[in-house]
């Protein structure tokens, strides 16, 4: 009799996914996602014609890139928030109600257990992200000619951001109640995104906000920079490679923090 880490992970991740899709939040996510796609459908219909901007006639096609970037970025941030909210009790709940005890009494390491719960969470948010962002990218490509390659890179940036947010949310859920963790997710993602937007299109930031912009997880920045080809690439600030490295480092750090925190946790008190 042997149990490999891969076998244990697959078995537990399957259960974690089944747990996740039974959550009450999932129907809400489905409805909001469909409504979002309907809204995107409406927003991208008027890709032809002209519009008057401060007395200047501008072809709609010239605004399509900006519109697409705003819509895509907003949905990417929503996907990240969703990952954090679903993660806010996906590990802590089985620990609190005691149902994790039977699995952890098996030859299953804590790393395997935590990562399998994370995988269940991410499966939900990635599926939602694929639906929302894939649908949006398709509509934009068909109606405005937006380059799909940029959307792919932006989708990858969103996946990395979702991973980081989910790991940090799961970590804080080991100490905070679910509602506090969920609120923290909304507040943190909102704050980082706001700082990223100011840093991207507004003033040069200094101090604490500057540190978040330069060293924090580039949640919005990496998506916006990836979508640069949809507008004038010179209009966005940031080196794609530097942002990719920073995103990867945040993924590794947040994942490491989750595993280290869960490793030290006293279970079942």
């Amino acid at each position: 009799m042997t149990l490999t880490t891969g076998t244990a992970f697959r078995a537990l991740a399957g259960e974690a996914f089944a747990d996740a899709i039974r959550r009450r939040i999932v129907p809400v996510i489905v409805v909001i996602s469909l409504l979002s796609l309907m809204a995107v459908d409406g927003c991208t219909r008027c890709a032809t014609g002209q519009v008057d901007v401060n007395g200047q006639v501008v072809p709609m096609a010239d605004l399509a890139g900006w519109t697409g970037m705003v819509i895509f970025s907003a949905l990417a941030l929503w996907t990240m928030v969703l990952a954090g909210v679903v993660a806010s009790d996906h590990l802590s709940h089985p620990l609190t109600d005691g149902s994790a005890a039977l699995s952890l009494a098996r030859p299953v390491s804590r790393n395997t257990f935590a990562l399998s719960r994370l995988a269940g969470t991410l499966a939900i948010s990635y599926a939602t992200g694929a639906l929302l962002l894939g649908g949006t990218a398709t509509l934009l490509a068909v109606r405005t000619g937006a380059a799909p390659g940029a959307a792919l890179w932006a989708g990858a940036a969103c996946a990395a951001g979702s991973f980081t947010v989910a790991c940090l949310s799961m970590t804080s859920s080991l100490w905070l109640p679910q509602i506090a963790t969920a609120l923290l997710v909304f507040a943190s993602v909102g704050a980082v995104a706001a700082v990223n937007l100011v840093g991207q299109f507004g003033a040069e930031l200094g101090g604490f906000l500057g540190a978040i912009e330069h060293y924090g997880p580039p949640l919005a920045t990496s998506v916006i920079v990836a979508l640069g080809p949809w507008i004038e690439p010179a209009a966005v600030r940031g080196e794609p490679l530097e942002l990719a490295v920073r995103s990867a480092l945040w993924c590794a750090a947040s994942g490491g923090l989750l595993l280290a925190s869960f490793h030290r946790l006293e279970l079942g008190r």
């Binding site: 009799m1 042997t2 149990l3 076998t7 244990a8 078995a11 537990l12 259960e15 089944a18 747990d19 039974r22 109600d97 005691g98 149902s99 005890a101 039977l102 699995s103 952890l104 009494a105 098996r106 030859p107 299953v108 390491s109 395997t112 006293e266 279970l267 079942g268 008190r269």
Partner: protein, 236 residues
Amino acid sequence: MLALELAGVFKSFGPRAALRGVSFSLPQGSALGLLGPNGAGKTTALRLLLGFSRPDEGRATLLGMPPFEAASRMGVGYLPERLVLPGRMSVRRFLELHATLAGLSGAERNREIDEVLEQTGIADRAGDRIAGLSKGLAQRLGFAQAFLGRPRLLLLDEPNSGLDPIGVRDARDWIQTARARGCSLLVSSHVLSEIERTCDQVAILHEGKIAASGEISDIVRAGESLEDAFVRLVRA
């Protein structure tokens, strides 16, 4: 070789000392009853042995390894006091998951699942959702998952909880069957008559310390039952 050991273990939760220098061990093939009043530290001791918690001082080992290593739990069957089962799963699906986690696969896995279903008397409920089981049947399912993989060591915390008299008798038979094939056993229970029937040794915990430990015959005086000896030792 020892199936498990706690050596000089101290464990506190904040200002409350749950275990104060507790030592006991279980040779392979033996059966130890862990007794004590509520709050004596029995469940804390079990949690330390399963690696759910770390001792502040002292040493815990499970099948010769530190319990925090996942490999130490290969060959261990555990039935917790508060059994929380996934109500949405079918009985069989739940056992499949735990058989996989116990290291079983393929035909062996299916054979063992059929065997424990039959043994614990819930074979006819294999396709039912767990949420539909009574407390007694859920406890039988708890036993069934603990028996998967023919464990070398069984850790049972209040195993008779929720069982009717027939279930209690059945559980005693299952435990004795496991013992007959060489399985070591640690039972934490308040039902002293069952401990007397299934174990050859006891360790009595009181206020986080070992009040007495050893062969039941050494602890119980002439004319006493285990319950009498327990009350005498705890009140002393």
